[in-house]
């Protein structure tokens, strides 16, 4: 009897509990398997996207490499990519396959004459549920194709805009318009339509309340140096060239007289006649705001007049009237603070530096007419004071009121305050000789300034009575002679 009672007390091990345990264990296994599979699936998908992204990027980079060889090789349509016999990328077929089942298609669409929109799609399919794609896009433009510089071994006057006794001083060209300063009473700034260089025409004239001297342009903002004693610097919005809008003006400190102006980034450089003996400021920098207002940032003493400014890296080169340094170097920080680095003393004379320009590692300084050669060319490879090798010299036909050079530093353009040989073109590539290649004799008065339009390969010669647009007339394209 007691033995029978002990057997009935074993309730924890019934069949029902065993089945319950198995069921719970089964549910756990199912849930675990599901989450494991999901996790694995997500990992694989992530890997697919990474590989797909890199393959799509490869399509874009291949297109970029093809464009670097020739922009014309980027043809509209759908392409695959491959390698030619020399290992360079080419377009091949209309798709390319990579191991792992990845298919890449590069779609090229033209957007204007100089821009191609590249879109690459890399797709994959691994069964019913596992497919995907990555799409990347970028623009490629035709910035690598070199522009053509004409043969400046001879010149031709393409067109002329005349205005008697206008005393044209400086010009700057943007698109189809040239902004030109002059000494006309009640004027000072002209806007010329030069879309057809053979017949430049006046679009509008602006009263600067004084004579207009040098110009600088930043985007659609024009800066003009004038002799208005109450507001030497005038700032205009020229978004609509036919209607310049005055944004602001700036009165240089004290009795300062402005003569020169230049712009770099969001800094405006202004040079002029040194003020009083106790405060001999002659170079200023201004921060340009988005609305065109100017905030003084730096000032530098200079006992000479800053007749012209050219920029080279973090230095400003000044054509100076200071006898001890006709070429003055000023250091400038990113915030516009100025410091005098030093200068080069052309000890052969005390004539003033009137004009300055840079091209590559060359700096051109134009001087007043004297018994000595008016053009001085410096090597500015080193950022310090230019010295050896050089400088080199060339005889001008008068005071060199304007100098410039093409981007290859092959041709030097010299404007002299002279009718005869008002423009000289010299071989800048061979500094030891600086051979005169050609000249232009002005019939509209003495030259007063010069502007070389790099975009259109034109020279704007500013004279007493006219703006003359000169173009290369030699056969074929120009080359460093």
């Amino acid at each position: 009897m007691k033995l029978c009672l002990r057997h009935r007390a074993r309730g924890g091990f019934l069949l029902l509990e065993a089945l319950l345990g198995i069921a719970i264990f089964g549910m756990f296994i199912t849930a675990v398997s599901f989450t494991l599979l999901q996790g694995q699936e997500s990992s694989i998908l992530g890997g697919d996207h990474v590989r797909g992204g890199f393959l799509a990027e490869q399509g874009l980079e291949a297109s970029r490499a093809i464009r670097d060889g020739s922009f014309a090789a980027i043809t509209a349509g759908e392409h695959g990519i491959g390698l030619d016999g020399t290992g360079k990328w080419i377009y091949s077929g209309n798709q390319s396959n990579a191991s792992g089942g990845y298919v890449t298609r590069v779609t090229v669409t033209a957007s204007g004459a100089s821009t191609m929109v590249i879109s690459t799609r890399t797709s994959w399919k691994r069964g019913v549920n596992r497919s995907g794609s990555v799409v990347l896009s970028a623009d490629l433009t035709n910035w690598r194709t070199p522009a053509t510089v004409g043969n400046w071994s001879s010149v031709t006057a393409a067109g002329t805009y005349s205005s008697a006794n206008a005393l044209f001083n400086d010009a700057i060209v943007s698109g189809s318009y040239a902004f030109v300063t002059n000494g006309i009473s009640g004027g000072g700034l002209m806007v010329l339509n030069v879309s057809n260089p053979a017949s430049p025409s006046l679009t509008t004239s602006v009263n600067l309340n004084g004579v207009g001297y040098q110009l600088a342009l930043k985007g659609r903002t024009l800066f003009v140096m004038t002799d208005d004693s109450a507001a030497e610097i005038k700032v205009y919005n020229v978004t609509i060239p036919s209607s310049p809008q005055l944004l602001s003006s700036y009165n240089l400190p004290g009795s300062a007289v402005g003569t020169s102006i230049e712009v770099s980034g969001d800094l405006l450089f202004a040079g002029g006649v040194p003020t009083t003996a106790s405060s001999i400021r002659a170079l200023y920098t201004f921060q340009i705001s988005s609305t065109g207002s100017l905030t003084l940032r730096g000032q530098m003493d200079d006992t000479g007049t800053v007749n012209a400014i050219a920029l080279s890296g973090t230095a400003a080169l000044l054509a100076d009237s200071e006898d001890a340094r006709e070429l003055t170097m000023a250091g400038v920080t990113a915030t516009g603070a100025l410091s005098l680095i030093g200068g080069y003393n052309l000890s052969d004379s005390t004539v003033d530096g009137l004009s300055v320009a840079t091209s590559g590692t060359s700096a051109l300084l134009g001087r007043q007419k004297s018994a000595f050669q008016e053009l001085v060319v410096f090597d500015i490879t080193r950022p310090a004071i230019p010295s050896s090798p050089g400088p080199w010299y060339h005889e001008g036909s008068g005071s060199l009121v304007g100098v410039d050079a093409d981007g290859n530093a092959c041709y030097g353009f010299l404007a002299a305050a002279s009718g005869r040989k008002a423009l000289q073109v010299v071989n800048l590539f061979d500094k030891t000789s600086l051979t005169e290649l050609t000249t232009y004799t002005s019939t509209t008065g003495l030259a007063r300034g010069l502007y070389y339009d790099h975009v259109h390969d034109d020279v704007y010669l500013l004279t007493t009575n006219a703006v003359v647009i000169l173009q290369p007339a030699g056969a074929g394209a120009g080359s460093c002679p």
């Binding site: 091990f13 849930a31 996790g39 992530g46 990347l136 930043k218 770099s264 981007g407």
Partner: protein, 140 residues
């Protein structure tokens, strides 16, 4: 003297629960890792597109600068996937220009700085590099 009753059923159930909890934790961790891998794949794609957006801005800036040396940048373009922003072009004239381009796609941002030695007639580049933050090459 009587033996205490044995309870093997409860030990079995307890074992099942403990093992189940361990397996559930492990699989949940692997699930999260998988989701992370999938998000990483999308982030890589966004990063590549952000870089290409910056390249697009740089290409456009060079083309526009060659057409007009007074071009000053300071513009944001909306592209097919993201945006790109050009800072004010550094320098002035035909020599010594600086281009700073920033591309955005999703949450990724990438930046490129270009030092242009000469713009015309042939554009010569001194450096074209991705940077973490812009230097003083270009004003803001």
């Amino acid at each position: 003297m009587t033996k205490p009753p044995s309870r093997p059923g409860y030990i079995f159930l307890l074992s099942v629960l403990i093992i189940g909890a361990v397996l559930a934790t492990t699989s949940f961790t692997l699930l999260l890792l998988g989701l992370g891998a999938e998000l990483s794949g999308l982030a890589v794609r966004d990063s590549i597109q952000a870089y290409e957006n910056a390249q697009t801005c740089a290409e456009r800036a060079l083309l526009l600068l060659r057409a007009d040396l007074a071009y000053d940048g300071h513009v944001t373009y909306t592209l097919s996937d993201g945006t790109c922003t050009l800072r004010t072009i550094g320098g002035g004239g035909n020599d010594g220009r600086g281009i700073c381009a920033e591309g955005v796609s999703g949450t990724s941002t990438r930046r490129i700085e270009i030092v242009v030695r000469t713009v015309l007639p042939k554009t010569r580049i001194d450096s074209w590099a991705e940077v973490d933050a812009f230097s003083t090459l270009c004003p803001s």
